[in-house]
């Protein structure tokens, strides 16, 4: 079988040799990995490890020194990435002075008939009481839910979320995980997460990043084997062993 065809079938996204510098600081060094269709890949790493920078480089919001992004085996220009992936940054407050319903409606119309029904999304995220309020008037938890709703309204096949569980309590995090699992059937996801407990519960594979370098990549079992830890070792223990 043709090697390229095999790659096309098994790898949805290929990130090859990404290098990014801010002045003299090397933010990303030769970062390479692949993501398979329907997979949830967790980007794990301490603060400042380069998770958000990597996501912005993949999106094209930051220029890279070198590296290639491929989609189903074909190289993706920055312009074409807009059709393939949607990146939801952390700590943003878009159109904060407008009512939540207006902002959600804008993104719903922008994406056309999305993968998720907006009413269903509002119900699952319990946003109904907040629809008439401006985004800036909401609590941190509700703001995160609105941002998640905006992300899930997108229709690109690859969804990249930066810290999707930040600001949620345990019950809310579990509800969001359920929602994301429901979406995984028709979407591939990359989640940048620093809470390892949440990451362990939802991600299929993990990419451990530290100081802009890929330390390890694989399923939890594969990482346990790499580090020589027992089969009941948690992701936290694996992470500590690797770093």
């Amino acid at each position: 079988m043709d090697k390229n065809l095999t790659e096309q079938q098994t790898h949805e996204l290929s990130v090859i040799g990404i290098q990014k510098r801010f002045g003299t600081y090397q933010a990303l060094s030769d970062v390479s990995f692949t993501v398979t269709p329907g997979e949830i890949l967790g980007l794990i790493g301490p603060n400042g490890s380069g998770k958000s920078t990597l996501l912005e480089c993949i999106t094209g919001l930051l220029p890279v020194e070198s590296g290639t992004i491929k989609w189903q085996g074909r190289q993706l220009s920055v312009e074409n990435r807009k059709h393939v992936l949607w990146y939801q940054p952390d700590n943003i407050l878009p159109f904060a002075e407008q009512q939540v319903t207006t902002t959600l409606s804008f993104f719903q119309h922008i994406h056309g008939q999305g993968r998720m029904d907006i009413d269903q999304l509002i119900n699952r995220l319990e946003l109904s009481p907040m629809l008439e309020k401006p985004l800036k008037a909401l609590s941190k938890g509700y703001r995160r839910r609105v941002l998640l709703a905006i992300a899930l309204l997108s229709r690109q096949p690859l969804l990249m979320l930066d810290e999707p569980f930040d600001g949620f309590d345990l019950r809310q995090s579990l509800a969001v995980m359920d929602l994301l699992r429901d979406c995984r059937a028709n979407r591939t996801m990359i989640l940048s997460i620093h809470q390892l407990t949440e990451a362990e519960k939802i991600c299929d594979r993990f990419l451990l990043l530290d100081q802009g370098r890929v330390l390890a990549i694989g399923t939890l079992d594969e990482l346990r084997k790499q580090t020589g830890l027992s089969s009941n070792a948690t992701l936290e223990e694996v992470f500590l062993a690797i770093t």
């Binding site: 807009k82 393939v84 940054p89 943003i92 407008q98 922008i110």
Partner: protein, 447 residues
């Protein structure tokens, strides 16, 4: 999974445009600006009407003075002066939000992921503020209606060019503000950058007023100086092109520098290419300008017969002026004669002799002081007059032309002595209240 088809561009553009307009309408800065504009326009209008009425009372007794009573200079330019203030000092604060707020809130990172080019995104943003800017014309429209109802005269071409001038000035300020917010990390820095340009232009124009030479030329090319041409009722392709090129240049710079994903050297290269195009466009229009005098009394033009005759001069006409640049006679000569000659004579050389006035009561160091010398085809003449009624015959005599002026209707002016105090509430209460209610509605995020 197959790649998704991008949404239709025009639908996307319409949605983003509506969202941008909505973003401006919920901004308190816009409504505060509109409230201030209402108060300023009202104040300027009623002051102008009072002064115009006082002058008209005299003019109505002495008809020969009535020809000086034209509403453009007496009413509309002062009324629109309020817009100059708001466009210079307040509009930048509204315009920087277009990009600055999106950058600050992170909305820009989402907008840049939409299948729209940065050029289209910037175009939609500037269209949105352009449409919202039209709301700011409401007080001026009210002033025009009021003036008309009071029996005042309106000459539409004069109003059109005045509005066009302020529109171009606003467009340029908006483009500068957008660029400032693109390259600045915070809204206050962007505001300072933009105000530095608009206020700097104001100061430059003030410093250059009454000056000739390089400073005078620079003053004419300042934003304020260019706007004044429109206020004078003289439409010039050079000034229209300069305004448009400047606005387009800063707009292109915004589009080039907005996307954080572009490499620095690419941005610098594209910016220089934009600058080159700007220089070519401006120099080509400044070197061969076309003019249209839209004033009702055609005060920027000679009699059509004179204009036609002067356009036939195929040899260089040289005028040497022995006047101090600060001398008021030179200023009158510049405005009443030289400016018109520059627009009519194909090859005109004006030379300013290096000469200083010794003051009103002192003897001049140079016996030629005040003398204006003319040379055409080897023939010479001279005069102390700065009036076109004496200068044109001198030129025709040198050229050997006999010009019979076309018969033109005499401009009798539009004096009007009225009281307009009863309508002050429209500008001081009604409009501010209307804009305040809109602001409160917007604060609830309801637009």
């Amino acid at each position: 999974m197959p790649l998704l088809e991008p949404p239709k561009k025009y639908q996307l553009a319409r949605l983003v445009l509506i969202q941008e307009i909505r973003g401006l309408l919920v901004s308190p800065a816009l409504w505060i600006m509109l409230i201030i504009v209402s108060l300023l326009v009202g104040y300027s209008f009623f002051q102008a009407v009072d002064l115009f009425s006082q002058a008209s009372r005299t003019a109505l007794s002495f008809p020969e003075m009535a020809s000086g009573m034209n509403p453009l200079e007496g009413i509309f330019v002062p009324t629109f002066g309020a817009y100059y203030l708001s466009q210079t000092l307040l509009l930048p604060f509204v315009a920087i939000r277009l990009i600055g707020l999106d950058k600050q809130s992170g909305a820009l990172k989402l907008l840049l992921q939409l299948p729209l080019s940065t050029l289209s995104l910037c175009g939609l943003k500037i269209t949105a503020i352009g449409l919202v800017w039209l709301i700011s014309l409401l007080p001026a429209a009210l002033a025009l209606i009021l003036w008309h109802n009071l029996g005042g005269h309106i000459y539409p071409p004069e109003i059109a060019i005045l509005v066009a001038g302020h529109g171009l000035y606003s467009l340029t300020v908006i483009s500068i503000a957008m660029f400032a917010s693109t390259i600045s990390d915070s809204l206050p820095t962007a505001a300072m950058f933009c105000l530095a340009v608009t206020l700097g232009s104001w100061v430059l124009d003030f410093a250059a007023s009454g000056q000739s030479g390089f400073l005078g030329t620079l003053g004419n090319l300042s934003l304020t100086g260019m706007l004044r041409q429109f206020e004078n009722g003289l439409l010039s392709t050079a000034y229209v092109a300069s305004f448009l090129s400047l606005a387009l240049f800063f707009f292109l710079l915004t589009a080039i520098w907005l996307h954080p994903g572009q490499r620095l050297f690419l941005k610098i290269g594209k910016s220089f290419a934009g600058l080159l195009v700007l220089c070519i466009v401006v120099s080509s229009t400044v070197l061969a300008p076309q003019y249209m005098d839209v004033t009702e009394n055609q005060r920027h033009s000679f009699n059509p017969a004179d204009s036609r005759a002067l356009q036939t001069l195929n040899k260089p006409l040289t005028i040497t002026i022995n006047l101090d640049p600060q001398d008021s006679r030179l200023l009158d000569l510049e405005q009443d004669v030289l400016a018109k000659l520059r627009r009519s004579v194909p090859k005109l050389n004006v030379t300013y002799a290096q000469i200083k006035s010794a003051g009103l009561f002192s003897a001049s160091e140079n016996d030629n002081y005040g003398l204006i010398q003319y040379e055409y085809g080897g023939r010479h003449d001279q005069s102390y007059s700065n009036s076109q009624n004496e200068i044109l015959p001198i030129i025709y005599n040198l050229v050997g032309l006999q010009v019979v002026p076309d018969s033109m209707p005499t401009y009798r002016g539009h004096p009007l002595a009225i009281e307009a105090t009863g309508s002050r509430w429209l500008f001081y209460i009604f409009l501010p209240l209307l804009f305040f209610c809109a602001a409160v509605y917007g604060r609830k995020g309801k637009w």
